[in-house]
Symmetry: C3
Subunit: 300 residues, 3 copies
């Protein structure tokens, strides 16, 4: 591949935040990166991470990581802005990419996805920062100019104090557990279409058969529903809820052309209890309900 | 015009989808196109097409078509993803541009707008696709890498099996009809400002005079409203609803600085019955109401 | 810095509007600028300015101005489109940048921020415009092709009739006033996080002490609240409302990790009455309430 911008160390900045799009925050960060490093392309991953939701931002970044262009990855979901939490540059792949963001667990899942950190720096060198009237917009005053400097060839060691990559705040991801023969999982992500991704791999349900019973939430008297394991949305019949392997290889609850979130009454973080249909050791899960086509609760 | 990227066959990808912006879907497609074809510019037409609404996506693409840069046009509104519906590359203008997307009628209105297809291919050559854990994200796994390959010079014949352009799934657009002397039209599009575009050209109302009566919906007892034909929003007085020729040359119901959608109680797909004010052959349309300034129904 | 595009007079267009993102409006403007001026980068500042809200658009542009790349700044919030309001090109910094938009006060605050206009032109030369079926989309038909032409080297004097920069419609900004010993300010902006920026500089409260009393709205019987002056969000304890200097150096009401807008019941344009806590000349402000953690009104 020809190098379109031989003067650039990195030619792409991938950018994720919880800034929203209504204010000028995202545009100002773009402007500052372009000012510092003309010719750099900026790819917006998402700016609609729920406000201050470090876990959701970290998961979005981790899902994206393997598909991003090599370069700088800038991520800002930063409820602790202005405190003494560190701002970090984390080098991965011996310099193939550098992740920038607050040290609050936001970057950790993506760093792990791409093989771990080779170096890390706390962004203490203020020569690379903008002067600012207040410490509330580090995306503009610290991370954007640092991103531009990295693209222009600054070494991460110039940006501040080298820190131990093992000292980074880890991301906290929920792990499914067994309980009374059930598998207790969690909704990690509800996407734009209402599909509910669980913290389960296909292996976790090996030998469970084609239909699985689920209960949403922690109330043991809640209704049980049946999920049918299928390969595509279109295999989910009217009146059924499906369990598919999604585009990331993860088990996901789905309804064809409708929202599984609405159908299940689940949301990101909801506990999902799974029980074998053929569990001979236990009484039947009792009432099972299928999708009510006529009267969906909470439907817009 | 100088060619900034002589190594590129196409230097622009225009991109429309129903992916929304909250998830990483749009950003990942951008990343993959940039990885495959560095230097390509990507123009986002919209990613807020209502979920699975092929008609709305097709109309948005058709309205945009004449203004888009020559190049690749990628459109994904794809409720049938994972089924045996075909993925297509459609060449127009003898190679001036190539449209990519599912064969579900989404591309057809835009193809017609720019003069019809010169070649079409079903995207069956998996050499151009990404390996994927599941068949639910063709935008990432098929269309993005194919878009990049086209920009880098791949011929559409390399991408799969040549198909008859006449075999493409057509877009279904509503046609206005005459009924009992009335003209029965439909709202094709409600824009961000609440303007309601009808499936009517100015010619359709030739000789109808300056004021037209309309009834929204299919209930024959619904109120009749009067629309005043004007040229600009500002000619619509307080308390009036206007009928203008919009920026695409199409008849559109509008209210100055307010939402005609709210005012009429119409939405995309609503039937709109138009009756001449001076229709001597029929009884008066009865009650006519003007805009109620104080108490708009459904206003936020 | 090397010039990546020596054929371009300006290589960046910064773009703000109230077009929203659901329709194709923003994408079509991008396409036309790219068609006219290949290689130009476009930075979207915001397209979610509230519909027709010239003041909000003008303030957003003014806050952004000092951070934008030199080049063309295109701003369209234009309730008067199609009337005889002028379309303008305003040169600042002796040609460092050119602002484009309607003459309705939208551009004035940003022009003032960057030192005032050096030249101004009314965009009357239709050679630079697109033919259009109706006068309702000047962003597409006038401003986008003119932006492209400026990038390609057109002088603003070619674009139409030179006008007196002093004839531009000014932006109207609210000024805080003293009343009965109180300071009566206004919420200028509520950001994505619910922080409420006031039209007050830190100097305006010099000598007021660490805690200030505020009343929202114009009802003299409304509750009084206490604001604690702090430097960062994290210094605002649970149950407190803070008054910080925001990233633009302006006094802003904030709650840590929650919305001050929700907490105060304020919105953009709300009057905010400030009273010294230690005002010995006046009776106490009476009831003061702190944040109710359990039952926030209006919380989603």
């Amino acid at each position: 591949m020809s190098n379109l911008h031989p003067e650039l160390r990195y030619d792409t900045v991938s950018f994720l935040s919880d800034y929203g799009r209504a204010d000028e925050f995202v545009g100002v960060v773009h402007s500052l990166i372009r000012s510092t490093a003309p010719g750099v392309g900026i790819v917006d991953i998402s700016h609609d991470i729920p406000r201050h939701d470090v876990r959701a931002g970290g998961l979005t970044l981790a899902r994206s990581a393997q598909y991003l262009c090599p370069g700088v990855v800038l991520a800002v979901v930063d409820p602790g802005v202005g405190t003494d939490r560190r701002g970090l540059a984390i080098e991965v792949g011996d310099g193939q990419s550098v992740l920038l963001g607050p040290d609050n667990g936001l970057l950790a899942p993506a760093v792990a996805m791409v093989g771990g950190a080779t170096r890390a720096v706390s962004l203490t060198n203020t020569d690379y920062h903008l002067p600012a009237p207040g410490p509330t917009f580090d995306g503009r005053d610290i991370f954007a100019p640092v991103a531009g400097a990295l693209c222009m060839g600054a070494d991460i060691a110039d940006l501040g104090e080298i820190v131990d990559p093992n000292s980074l705040t880890p991301g906290i991801l929920p792990v499914a557990r067994e309980e009374d023969g059930d598998l207790v999982a969690e909704v990690m992500w509800v996407d734009h279409f209402g599909n509910c991704q669980l913290n389960l791999d296909p292996d976790d349900l090996e030998g469970w058969g084609d239909v699985v019973q689920v209960q949403v939430g922690t109330d043991p008297t809640a209704d049980w529903r049946q999920l049918r394991r299928v390969e595509t949305f279109s295999q989910i019949a009217d009146g059924q809820i499906g369990l598919i392997i999604d585009s990331y290889g993860v088990l996901t609850v789905a309804v064809d052309r409708r929202s599984a979130e609405t159908e299940l009454g689940a949301r990101s973080g909801s506990e999902i209890r799974l029980r074998r249909l053929d569990d001979a050791d236990r009484p039947s899960a009792g009432v099972t309900t299928s999708v009510e086509l006529g009267a969906r609760k909470g439907d817009a």
